[in-house]
Symmetry: C2
Subunit: 461 residues, 2 copies
């Protein structure tokens, strides 16, 4: 437990209204989407960058642990105060869109801005912020930057890191640094913004982000292809991308996922299909979209696609997307506990990867339904078990380990989107050599010599 004199100090810094240390509030800030719980000693709501700097400097001097938190929507425990200490939360004050610069096509935001609020604000003026994590309705830009959030549009538009032009951040010692500029090109000094992205709040606390915007494409069309086998669908994915067309999204559901959605919602889905692919294309001209769709249909049909449907309007497009958007929740039909991972492989490895996953499922007599962002090789892999049966849960974790090993063997990564946090920390040794882990630790030490900032994460301790 933290010494009460520290809490008094923090109250003096941020004001009594901006510190919580009562049981109910500590509980509210003790969890994230992993459902693990760790209570902090207090929650602070900094009013501005100077507060963040004052808090960090004091914590550094007194060895107090600090955990920055966005919306708490992470799947790997990155925002959990696993060592207690102070949670820094930005939703009360540091939650403003500071500027939308139309001339340079840039937005400047505070960390607490919600992703979808930013998307809406820039679209109102004809601009576009592509990163769209599934958590977009509640996750914050600060959290998105810390985890390098992806989303469905990554196949064409990339991920958070591709849109971060500059970051203002406070180092653990209280120093404020600016990294990057409102320019496409900037090669003066080390790429600090580059290393802060995806650092999961372990190196510095972000206080302001400058994001690149692009012009909003004038139109989007949606299509769906039905495939007899998941292997054929996966072949169609990478062959489409390699054919010169880059769809905005190229999402898949495997047979188990299709059945789960159908069982839950009765939408008339093709329950005997090996897989379906749902895809969006966009652009500024009708002929361009039709050209893209024709190319996609050609590659799909060459790879076994029996049924190819193009949505005629928004309502039909929403229908085609329904199964994908409701995939995750529907999987409950296979078990009360879902161990969901977000492994990612080079696209051409997808067919082989899924074959391996199904072999693992068969070996352990469990279901591993898969869906996700195949356009960028990112497979949401769901190991389903009975959460009340400890033996089943143990088997589930064994299967996960094999899922990771198969992914790494095929040149993939433990995480395409969710990060490492606490949940994947035990697997870092599978993915990285001792030399690589030593380098991570040296970088952590360079930024945070006293290890006060989000310790115990990413397998660094």
């Amino acid at each position: 437990m933290i010494d009460p004199k520290h809490l008094q100090h923090f109250a003096a810094v941020v004001g009594d209204d901006n510190i919580y240390s009562d049981k109910a509030h500590l509980l509210a800030y003790s969890y994230d989407a992993t459902r693990e719980r760790f209570e902090p000693d207090a929650v602070l709501f900094p009013r501005h960058e100077q507060d963040v700097s004052d808090i960090l400097r004091y914590c550094d001097e007194h060895g107090i642990v600090i955990v920055p938190r966005g919306a708490g929507s992470g799947f790997t425990g990155g925002a959990l105060p696993s060592h207690g200490g102070i949670v820094l939360a930005f939703e009360k004050h540091m939650n403003k869109i500071l500027e939308i610069d139309m001339q340079n096509m840039v937005a400047v935001v505070q960390p607490g801005v919600i992703n979808m609020d930013l998307q809406r604000a820039v679209e109102e003026v004809g601009l576009f912020y592509p990163p769209d994590p599934a958590s977009q309705d509640y996750s914050t830009i600060g959290g998105n930057v810390s985890e390098n959030a992806g989303g469905m549009r990554a196949a064409k538009y990339g991920i958070t890191k591709d849109y971060v032009m500059a970051i203002r951040a406070v180092l653990p010692n209280g120093d404020v640094v600016k990294a990057g500029k409102r320019t496409i090109k900037d090669v003066a000094g080390y790429n600090i913004a580059g290393i802060l992205i995806a650092s999961e709040g372990t190196l510095a606390v972000t206080t302001e982000v400058t994001l690149k915007l692009i012009a909003k494409p004038k139109m989007t069309k949606t299509a769906m292809g039905v495939f007899p086998s998941v292997t054929e669908a996966m072949e169609a994915v990478y062959k489409t991308m390699a054919s010169g067309v880059t769809p905005v999204a190229m999402e898949f559901l495997d047979n188990l996922t299709i059945r789960a959605v159908e069982q839950t919602f009765s939408k008339g889905l093709p329950v005997d299909a090996g897989a379906i692919l749902v895809t969006d294309v966009d652009g500024n001209l009708e002929p361009d979209l039709d050209f893209q769709l024709a190319q996609i249909e050609k590659v799909f049909r060459e790879n076994g696609c029996s049924d190819f449907v193009i949505a005629k309007d928004k309502a039909e497009a929403a229908d085609l997307w329904f199964a994908r958007r409701n995939a995750s929740q529907s999987l409950a039909v296979y078990g009360s506990k879902k161990l969901n991972e977000d492994v990612t492989v080079p696209r051409s490895a997808l067919p082989g990867l899924l074959e391996k996953f199904y072999a693992i499922a068969e070996k352990y007599d469990i279901n591993i339904p898969c869906f996700g962002h195949t356009g960028d090789g990112n497979v949401h892999t769901n190991v389903m078990v009975d959460g009340k049966d400890p033996e089943q849960v143990k088997i589930g974790y064994k299967a996960i380990e094999e899922v990771f090993q198969a992914t790494i063997d095929m040149g993939g990564t433990l995480s395409g989107e969710h990060g490492i946090g606490l949940a994947k920390a035990p697997y870092m040794g599978m993915a990285f050599t001792d030399e690589e882990m030593n380098l991570f630790k040296a970088i952590k030490k360079a930024f945070d010599p006293n290890n006060i900032l989000n310790p115990n994460k990413m397998g660094l301790d």
Copy 2:
């Protein structure tokens, strides 16, 4: 001078054929495009990654300085052995394109591969590697990564960092690390590749780079607009980009540059124009290109463009590009010494920036012709003086300092493309706070605690 026993050791590692220590060769490796000269003690040509590791580990143990070198085409001295020591060169052995993976649209190359050789190889199979620094005919991918090279196509396609998916590198202690994957998404561990890019060979030695490729657009068209004033041209640049069209390139020449090219080559250029803009658009469909060109013409004409020409074929396109491609060499008409900088500002600051530059020129009674990549705010700023007159050279450097200050005041960067190296090291204090410089130094120390790798660069010593 290095102890001969070290040279014997290195000869034993790489073989007698792969070490130079004779005067003629040391001279050949003593310079780069800055024309400064520093002789190394020896030049080594590692045969493979293991050689690099063995060399670095030995140097680290014995405190021997190592300077990795690409083609020596840099403008800031990044590859100069300013403290002597060993130059590591890759053009003899580590110069292979290891793989072009068409399925995943990725190339894997060694650091010594020449940029244009890679471009040609991937275009032969319908793919595209966009980064095109002016040095593309001789500069290497290793050098491009170290400097985060840009080029003309950055406005639409970004720069080297946007194409680096993974880097294999050797740390100063000899450890080999792999950073990144052949996947769009990878958020496991710190973004080591992100910090190695643009680190100017001060953190690690790159031994292999995995690069993202895209589908080659099927067609390109070129247009040129003539403007009465540079201010109107600069307004047209950022208004075009903000209108929703993203040209591949949007290059400008100011009046002084136009006159210099005309004086040198007599091509019938509009010598009374305030500026000309040359632009390329690309895509897969004729109507898409025409749509883009119509939009560009509209914005250009709204901003004072008197003459707008679209090239009818490749020969006419080459004609329109002639002035831009020959701008740099033509400037010799204004003086024997060219202090050329590559400052970059947010695009909307371009009109004001150029006004300031011309005011600086007037104040010192010198010429500062400007041209460059306005589509991304990157202005090649050429302070022209008589190199034989020490007083003029002194004035030139005073002007440069004011050029940098004006750039920084307008939210810009010391360097959009060339890096810091030795040449811009004295100006780092203008662009970065002490806190930021301390962070750079801490990162340098985390990678290279004994400061053996390219010391004395980037203002870090």
